[in-house]
Amino acid sequence: MDFNGSDTLPGPRTEDQLPHTAQAAAKIVIVGGFGVGKTTMVGSVSEIRPLTTEETMTQAGIGIDDNYGSESKTATTVAMDFGRISITDQLVLYLFGTPGQQRFWFLWNGLFEGALGAVVLVDTRRLEVSFDVMGRLEERGVPFVVAINSFPDAPRYPIAELRRALDLSADIPMVECDVRRRASSRDVLLTLVRFLHSLALTGSAG
């Protein structure tokens, strides 16, 4: 990439620049298996055109990773879509959507440790693709809500039945959504933030 020639440098459009008063940013992660609507959700609520950041993970130790690629493969790229919502002149919220092999996301330093919480998107046609990530969030103590993205041809189960299938306790919010709609995605985020607020009230650790 040519970094000279400032005229052609990519960057935020003027209207996408944050004010100088922006003091701090927080993040929320949107997780779930392949094709559940993570990118769509980030795009529908973001105030900026969604962007992508990536990181290269290289194989550090000896031994063969039989779950990933061929034996000669020693590196993998983890890419994340993200978007932004300005909350106040001082406070900014970023949303990160994490595609690809879920186990690699958890190597991204600070992504889950620092996130306020997570939205787990599920598709009832393939519930099981979101099982793995739920276990990982639970192990790390990352608070999350479950959003059922309603695809037209997806089987519809009562929430109580889904809660049983996902083995979630009664306090974890579950909502239906259509992440293509901004208001629906926003309501999912509100559900998460209200849930985090309720944890603050009950004094539970995050």
Partner: protein
């Protein structure tokens, strides 16, 4: 028709992971431990830059700045997150954190620390986020 049932990975979820062990020369069984972030700068300085650390330029790019440093400085004339810098400059996040660390050392940029999850959640922060989302 009933949905498939999730099997929990562990009988009881551990509240917090143990402190990280050194990744080098790992012979651990966990395959995740075989992977680390690529590139230079395996030190504390890089870990200090979060995806949503906001970076603001403190000065115009000096003549001594590398093209990458100059490009980053021009981008953050207004505050911009490290993740956005990575996206706009089309550089991996670890490369961006190295650049930011250099520019912090040279006092050419200021970093505004991210808000991270606390053991006891910050209610006034969460209330602000709720109100902000309601206005969307």
């Amino acid at each position: 028709m009933t949905p498939p049932r999730r099997q929990r990975r562990t009988p009881a979820p551990a509240p917090e992971p143990p402190p990280p062990e050194p990744a080098e020369g790992g012979r651990e069984k966990n395959p995740e431990r075989l992977y680390v972030v690529a590139g230079p700068g395996e030190d504390g300085a890089r870990a200090a830059v979060d995806l949503v650390t906001l970076i603001v330029a403190r000065a115009e790019p000096p003549p001594s700045a590398s093209p990458e440093q100059a490009a980053l400085l021009r981008l953050c004339s207004a505050p911009l997150s490290a993740a956005e810098l990575s996206a706009y400059l089309n550089l991996p996040f670890s490369a961006i954190t190295v650049l930011i660390t250099e520019l912090l050392t040279a006092e050419l940029v200021q970093a505004r620390a991210p808000i991270v999850r606390q053991a006891v959640p910050d209610r006034s922060l969460l209330e602000a986020v709720m109100h902000g989302l309601q206005r969307l």
